[in-house]
């Protein structure tokens, strides 16, 4: 299968993705609680500026401002009827920025989680989830996105539903999950579990990986987990620029550009070939990451000790892949058959 994404990845070997959307929009005046997606039509010049941050910082691809552009989330803002439109416009604005970049830059149509829990534990049905993802993917495709980009997913069921939504829309896709709970996703999936999930799909993504979570160290550990499981698809690494702190009335992530540059190198060494940031990653971080990736050769995979020493401590001792994770105590009664 060949498309703009696989072509550019084959040509360059490593792609620099983009940084934060929310953090950057805040710095442009987005108010807490407002839907960023409404700015696609209300403040298009600011969204264009957001996209230019990534392009001007050296990104090979950037995500559209459509993370929450699904029916479940836009309903909060009485905009559930505008899913297709807001998705389309997010990609159209991006297309314009990418096509005038003076080099090849890809538009990746961001698709975030529905925010609901799927059956059987929750109430969202598979069919409805597929329909929601399909709608967003359709809009992104109509706006000219090169690829769909699923991110911050916790539940395997939701990842599967999105894969079907992209298939229905006929949009190639990549998809990352968020490993924020003791090294696993909120629903308990390990990095190794995700490799099995991804490679077992009918509509496999062009690349898979991790984004957001709890800081760059944990993300690197997750990438090592992907690599050691030995999948065949390219790996994406989009970590947060440190952890959030509240400074003078706004959120500030404590990771420096130097730290994120080091993170980028280590992510590539660990086995990732699409590398970017997530929350807190500003243009200056991306510039440092670009320079670092361009000025060094790929080295051997870092050890967990090296990661902890250079990037910072992990949020948990185990991520559930080393057999050393905590286990439940002895049962008190008899197990039911």
């Amino acid at each position: 299968m060949s498309n703009a994404f696989t072509d550019l990845l084959a040509e360059k070997g490593t792609l620099l993705a983009d940084g934060a959307t929310g953090t950057n929009l805040f710095n442009m005046g987005l108010m807490s609680g407002d839907a960023p997606e409404l700015w696609n039509t209300d403040e298009p010049q600011k969204i264009t500026k957001l996209y230019r941050f990534a392009v001007d910082s050296g990104s090979d691809l950037f995500l559209t401002n459509s993370f929450g552009a699904n029916a479940a989330r836009l309903k909060l803002h009485d905009a559930q009827a505008r899913v297709h439109e807001l998705s389309r416009v997010s990609a159209e604005l991006a297309r314009e920025v990418a096509d005038t970049a003076g080099r090849k830059v890809l538009v990746a149509g961001s698709v975030g989680p529905t925010g609901e829990i799927m059956e059987p534990v929750g109430t969202l049905t598979h069919a409805l989830a597929v329909e929601m993802f399909h709608e967003t993917a359709d809009g992104l495709k109509a706006g000219g996105a090169d690829i769909g980009w699923l991110e911050t997913i916790s539940a395997p069921e939701e990842y599967r539903a999105a894969a079907e939504g992209f298939a229905l829309a006929g949009l190639d896709w990549c998809g990352t999950m968020s490993f924020d709970t003791a090294g696993r996703t909120m629903m308990g999936l390990t990095s190794e579990g995700m490799v099995d999930l991804v490679h077992g799909l009918d509509n496999t993504p062009l690349a898979y990986g991790a984004n957001c979570g709890t800081g760059a160290s944990d993300l690197l550990r997750t990438v090592l987990g992907f690599a050691s499981k030995g999948g065949t698809l390219p790996i994406i690494s989009k970590g947060n620029a440190g952890i959030p702190k509240y400074v003078e009335g706004h959120i500030h992530y404590d990771g420096t550009p130097e730290l994120m540059a080091r993170y980028a190198i280590m992510a590539r060494d660990a086995g990732a070939s699409i590398i970017g940031g997530c929350c807190g990653t500003l243009p200056e971080h991306l510039v440092a990451m670009r320079a670092a990736l361009d000025s060094t050769e790929k080295g051997p995979a870092p050890t967990l000790e090296q990661i902890a020493e250079e990037i910072g401590p992990f949020s948990s001792d185990s991520d559930g892949t080393d057999g050393n994770g905590p286990t439940r105590g002895p049962r008190r009664g008899r197990r039911r058959a």
């Binding site: 929310g22 925010g115 439940r328 008899r334």
Partner: protein, 233 residues
């Protein structure tokens, strides 16, 4: 399933039954929990004792294993659902018998935040620990929080946010409480995956709770302090 694997709850003595209910809660078996609650009632247990010894006891194990990364959200939701099945039987009886109240909490996600999985878990675990919980749902404005607190008179306000774009709104709510001079009337707990302790302090919350189990522990601890200061005041 062989005959000897079958567990007949009514044949277990009280102690064995409570132990079995711990396991059944852990495994999210709602019908079995309801049956266990009814058996204990028939044996003359006080509703409050069933709540604290069987249900809260069992949910404490679930909470600890969630905190320690042994159980994850799907298992905890099932356990909480089983607990709720038992609570549905006990609730009216608890009111009738005038059982002591552990505390009351108003909880909701802040404006713009639809992500209520964590908030729901906290609500369920708090109920599992015997607290009365008023759930405001998602997307709450300052006004919605204030109105509910006025109407409900809770001990605790719980706020949750998952997104970088909604986290600062918690400070908006707390600042408003300060302005109105009612901040110290409540214990304010905040939570959400991207938050941390330092963030909680910086926005003026009493505590940041990493997960639902920690929220329960923290709530109990602060309620204890509140009682102590009330006793010495």
């Amino acid at each position: 399933m062989s005959e000897e694997d079958d567990i007949i709850l009514s044949e277990l003595d009280d102690e064995e039954l409570v132990q079995q209910m711990f396991d059944d809660l852990y495994d999210g078996l709602k019908e079995e929990i309801q049956e266990g609650v009814n058996i204990l009632l028939e044996r003359g247990w006080e509703p409050y004792d069933i709540l604290t010894k069987a249900l809260v006891g069992g949910m404490t194990i679930v909470g600890a294993d969630f905190r320690d990364g042994i159980l994850f959200v799907p298992e905890v939701l099932l356990a909480a659902n089983a607990m709720k099945g038992g609570m549905a039987i006990l609730k009216p009886l608890l009111v009738e018998t005038g059982a002591p109240r552990v505390g009351k909490m108003v909880i909701g996600t802040v404006k713009g935040d639809i992500h209520d999985i964590g908030k729901n878990l906290v609500g369920m675990m708090m109920e599992g620990a015997g607290f009365e919980v008023v759930d405001l749902g998602i997307n709450n404005s300052v006004e919605a929080y204030l109105e509910a607190m006025e109407a409900e008179g809770p001990d605790i306000l719980g706020m949750s946010a998952l997104l970088t774009t909604t986290m600062p709104y918690m400070k908006v709510v707390i600042d408003t409480l300060v302005e109105q001079g009612i901040r110290d009337d409540y214990i304010v707990l905040v939570g959400g995956a991207p938050l941390n302790e330092e963030f909680g302090k910086a926005i003026g919350a009493d505590a940041y709770c990493r997960d639902a189990a920690v929220a329960v522990e923290t709530a109990k601890e602060w309620m204890g302090r509140k009682h102590n200061s009330a006793a010495t005041a």
